[in-house]
Structure formats: structure tokens, C-alpha cells
């Protein structure tokens, strides 16, 4: 972590940039641009959940899309039934978090290896895909909400001012909600990492045996990290559903699961800014591919994944940062001593 700014200054800089984007974007780009950026932000929240559990917790979830999709579906089902969107948003965080806790219990208390965690989580999301895919027909309705099988759920009601179901959010309001949520999640995760809990989490990633020999129950820490990651991914899914007023089983699919790993890998493992920038960059790339016919999106994503694993496994942000660190005088890069003081 020495090559990445982890002190308060770097953190404040990121938050400042976030606020500039939050208020600045609607002033400078068209409505279409704002709507486009809203989905990037939903993906960035998703990327933060993966970046947090993988880059800091060392938990190799290959199926984070399970929680992302669950958040989206829980929001859609509950908002259709409740009308007011306040509780559905909270449920979209709480239900995936609870599901992550349950799954995490079996995985971490079973002490399975990283590779197993990856495969089990991946399997969970594939099976959720298959299950939701098969829920077409009247039999599969929850209250007034029809799950719709592979066609998904159209016309999901948008967010509204809490307590006033008729005061629905427009696209610009949704942007403020999405970007505000991204900034909030960033601050939350930064705070967790700066706490003593966060220090132990990173220590587990570094050396789980040592942490246990110091008297910490590593399983409980990993479980909590995984649960938080599940909640954050669920929030991302809720924003995603709001963006298009639509959700379909594709959200659980392999491409969705792979995409978020690519965000993190491209942006940089062990950073929080990296996954966010990775999400923006890759989503932009996909939107460009979508407008032409020659290159297939799967092919490009696959090639990017293979290329980064083989050639740039640490991701772009750490590489760029250490490049800057070499060019600038030392005081800008921040010495390790200061970092340790700032965090303690």
C-alpha cells in the first residue's frame, strides 16, 4: 500500500473531486450525459464493494454480482408493493448483506481456500441467474410484483422523497442520489479501513495465521467484511435498477460477475479510487463497443481481463501513482512514516 496515497490528504482530495462531479456534472453536460453517468456511478458502487472485500479483505468473491442483482430485485419487488421507496432502498442494502452473512458463515467457518470461495460465490450467482430466469408466469409473483423470468421487471417505480410517494425523483435527482451514495460509500469504507477493525482486516489479508496467533478470530472479521461488501453491492444494484427503471436476470450473469472483477483489476487492487475509475473507464469502453458492430463486448472484456492478469496485475492506479511518485519530489508522495502516523 506504500505506493498509494492512503493518508487523509489523498482521501480528502478524492472526496472533493466527488463533490465537484456531484454538483458540476449537471451544469456542464446534457441530460443524456447525466443519465449515462448515473449508470457508471451504479457500477462504481458495485466496484467499491468488490474492491473492498478483494483488495483489502483478501476475499476472492467471483460472484459479487449475486448481491448486486439481489439488491436490484429486492428494491424492485418491495417498491412495487410498498409505493414509498424509503424502506425498499434500505431493504436493498439489508437483504443482500444478510444473504452475504449467511453464505459467508458457511465459507469462512468451513475454512475453505481462496479458490473455493471464488468458485462457490460464482456458482451462487450463476444459480441465482438460472432461478430468476425461470420465474416467468403468474406463479412467480411476490405481492403485486411479477418477477417476469428472463424478460425481467419493467416499469420499476423510481425513488421518491422519503414519505411522499408522489414526489418521484427525476433523472437529475437520481443522479444526486447515486453520486451522493457513491461518495458516502467511499467515506464509509475509508473510515472502516482507518479504524482498528480495518487495520486487522488488512492484517488478515497479509497473514491470516499471524492474526489468529495474536488472538483475533479472523473468520469473524472476514464475515463482517463480506457482509459489508454484500450491502454495498446491493446499494449499487438498487441504483442500477433506478437508472433504467428495469431489471433482468442478466444482472446475475457471468458477464456481470466478470465485469466487476475487471473494474477492480484494471483500476488497481488494494485501492478504493482504482475500482471507481476502473468502473468509469470500462463502462465507457462498453458503451462505445455497443455503438458499433465489429467487436464483440465479451471478446473485448475477456481480452482486457487476460491482458491485465498477465501484464499489469497490480492495476493502473498503483502503476500511475508510483510513476508520479518517481517524478515528483518525495514530500508529495508522502513517506511511510507520515502514513503510519496519519492512520494511527
Amino acid at each position: 500500500m506504500s505506493s498509494v496515497p492512503s493518508g487523509w490528504r489523498g482521501c480528502l482530495l478524492v472526496i472533493l473531486a466527488g463533490f465537484v462531479l456531484l454538483f458540476g456534472l449537471p451544469q456542464v453536460v446534457s441530460l443524456y450525459g447525466v443519465v449515462q453517468m448515473t449508470v457508471f456511478v451504479a457500477m462504481a458502487v458495485f466496484a467499491l464493494s468488490q474492491g473492498f472485500i478483494w483488495g483489502f479483505g483478501g476475499i476472492m468473491s467471483f460472484g459479487q454480482s449475486a448481491f448486486f442483482g439481489l439488491g436490484g430485485y429486492v428494491y424492485a419487488v418491495s417498491v412495487i408493493n410498498m409505493g414509498d421507496s424509503t424502506i425498499p432502498v434500505l431493504l436493498a442494502i439489508a437483504v443482500p448483506a444478510a444473504f452475504a452473512a449467511l453464505l459467508g458463515y458457511f465459507m469462512f467457518f468451513g475454512r475453505i481456500s481462496d479458490a473455493y470461495v471464488g468458485v462457490i460465490t460464482l456458482t451462487v450467482t450463476i444459480i441465482l441467474f438460472n432461478v430468476v430466469n425461470s420465474t416467468s408466469g403468474d406463479f412467480y409473483t411476490i405481492g403485486q410484483a411479477a418477477l417476469g423470468g428472463f424478460n425481467g421487471m419493467p416499469n420499476v417505480p423510481p425513488l421518491n422523497v422519503p414519505g411522499y410517494p408522489d414526489a418521484a425523483f427525476g433523472p437529475i435527482d437520481t443522479w444526486y442520489f447515486a453520486m451522493g451514495a457513491l461518495i458516502l460509500v467511499y467515506i464509509l469504507l475509508r473510515g472502516i479501513l482507518a479504524s482498528r477493525f480495518g487495520r486487522v482486516v488488512v492484517a488478515i489479508r497479509e497473514n491470516e495465521t499471524r492474526v489468529q496467533l495474536l488472538g483475533y478470530d479472523a473468520r469473524v472479521y472476514k464475515l463482517l467484511v463480506f457482509t459489508i461488501g454484500g450491502g454495498v453491492a446491493g446499494l449499487g444494484g438498487c441504483i442500477f435498477t433506478n437508472w433504467g427503471a428495469f431489471i433482468s436476470p442478466t444482472i446475475f450473469g457471468l458477464a456481470s460477475a466478470a465485469q466487476v472483477l475487471i473494474f477492480v483489476l484494471v483500476g488497481g487492487l488494494g485501492t478504493l479510487v482504482g475500482p471507481v475509475l476502473g468502473a468509469f473507464g470500462i463502462e465507457y469502453l462498453i458503451s462505445i463497443i455497443g455503438t458499433q458492430q465489429t467487436l464483440n463486448a465479451n471478446l473485448v472484456l475477456g481480452a482486457v481481463l487476460v491482458a491485465f492478469v498477465l501484464l499489469v496485475p497490480q492495476g493502473l492506479v498503483p502503476v500511475v501513482w508510483s510513476g508520479i511518485g518517481r517524478l515528483l519530489p518525495r514530500r508529495f508522495a508522502g513517506t511511510g512514516e507520515q502514513t503510519a502516523e496519519a492512520q494511527s
Binding site: 476472492m60 467471483f62 453464505l103 458457511f106 465459507m107 467457518f109 468451513g110 475454512r111 475453505i112 481462496d114 479458490a115 473455493y116 471464488g118 468458485v119 462457490i120 460464482l122 456458482t123 451462487v124 450463476i126 444459480i127 441467474f129 438460472n130 432461478v131 430466469n133 425461470s134 450473469g253 457471468l254 458477464a255 466478470a258 472483477l261 483489476l265 464483440n296 463486448a297 465479451n298 471478446l299 473485448v300 472484456l301 475477456g302 481480452a303 482486457v304 481481463l305 487476460v306 491482458a307 492478469v309 498477465l310 496485475p313
Partner: protein, 288 residues
Amino acid sequence: MALTGLLLFNTLTGIATLVLICLGLGIIYGMMKIINLAHGEFVMLGAYVTVFAANAGVNLWVAMLILAPVAVGLIGLVVERCFIRFLYGRIIDTMLASWGLSLAIIGIVTSLFGNTVRGISAPLGSFPIGHYRTSLYGVFIIAVAVLAVVGLYALLRMTRFGLVVRATMGNPRMAAALGVAPPRIYMATFALGAGFAGLAGGVLAPVSGVSPVMGAAFIARAFITVLGGGPAIITGTSIASALFGSIDEFATFLTTPVFGQVALLLAAIIMIRFLPQGITGRVFRRSL
């Protein structure tokens, strides 16, 4: 009585299918301790080879039993040489790279052949169980699965290649002592695993819709079964296939195929809590 017979036959076919899908994955996992996430796409490629060869007039049996495994085995060889070999010792990175390959293969096949479902009709007709009729092709699948297991067992037990493979599984330095460099064994194993995936794709092509994304339908079950089976390739895969295949078929019989998979997943997740090393991590440890 006839219903029981039908259920039994379907369960056997289900287990045989699972064994076929899992063997290739299990070989690579047992040898190299990596999960090949492109496994589903290897199966898909095997199915494509079979469909195209059969449509081009090649004898169907030749296409599925010889062409598919050989072609996919060669693809596996190329993949191992170009990508996987740079990542040995980095388990997670190997899995990520194989996932990237999986996406890329789906992309390539979609670009070349379109995102459509193809099929070839199942040969052999049907036979009666009581007053039910069922596909004779199921008997063929069971036979191929049994032969594949026996063949792999013979290969590992009776050939020099098998000896070296077993030595490498136990201890990579042993293989070096036998005069064979572990990288060559890994290369051969990866190709062999890919070949078995191709065989599965070929044999299952007539009973499944052949499309670029068909791999996703197989891999969830295959992953669970191989992890549940544990480190012993043949024993683990067979026992886990029998266990999970039965659970799958039984739950499917009671509800729908989708909930068969859910039951499978739940059984597997509960199992890893108590047998984190898989079935053969605890019992039958010395088997193959």
C-alpha cells in the same frame, strides 16, 4: 414400478452427464489445483465441432467421440502454452485469466457463428420402461461416462504417463526425479482435461441447445461437483457426481430442473462447512 424404473434411469443418466462434464475439470483441478473457468467454453467448443462436422457429412459418432475431443484438446494445448503457463503458482490469477479466456471464446464464437441456438437430433430412438418410453441415447451417455472413467483410470494406473502424473500430483519434485519436467506434465494434463471437456460437449450436443453461452448451463454443477469431490480425480468426481446427481434428479423430479440446481448448491454449501477439503479430502485419501 415403471415410474421408479424411469426415475432410476433418469438419475443414472443425470449422474453420467455430470461425470462427463466434470472429468475434464477434475483432471485439471486434481493435477494443478486450479479451477479452469473456461471449462464450460471448452464443452461448448466440443459441441460446436460436433454440430459442424455432422452437418458437413462426417459420421456423427466419429464427430462426437473423436473429432470433438481431439480438436478441443489441441485448443487446450494452445491456451496452456500461450496463457496459463505464465501463471503457475498464482492460483487466483490463473482462474482470472481462464475466466478472461472464457469470455473471449464466447465473444469469438458469437462473432463467427452468431448468437443462435443450433442443434442436431439425438440418434438411436427410444425404448420402453413399463408404459413409459425413454431415449435410448441416455444409455449411450451412461456407457460413454463409464468408459471415460475406466479409460482415465487405466491411463493413470497402467501407463508411464499416468505414473508421472500421479507422482506430480503427490509431489512436483518427484516428477523431476523421474526425469520429466513438471511444466510438460502440466501442459499434457491441461490438454487432456480440455479433451475430456470436448468429449462431453460432443456427446451432449444432441441433447442440449448448442449456443455460444451454453457453457454457463453446465459449469455451476461442474464446479460444485469437482470441489465437493476433492483432490482425488476419479474417485472424487465419481462419488460427488453420484451424490449430487441423485440430489439434483430427485429435487428436479419433485419440482423443476432449476430447483434441482438450487438443491445441489445448498447441499454443496452445507457440505463444505463440514468437509472443506471435499469428500476425498477426508476419506478415500489414497485413491486416484
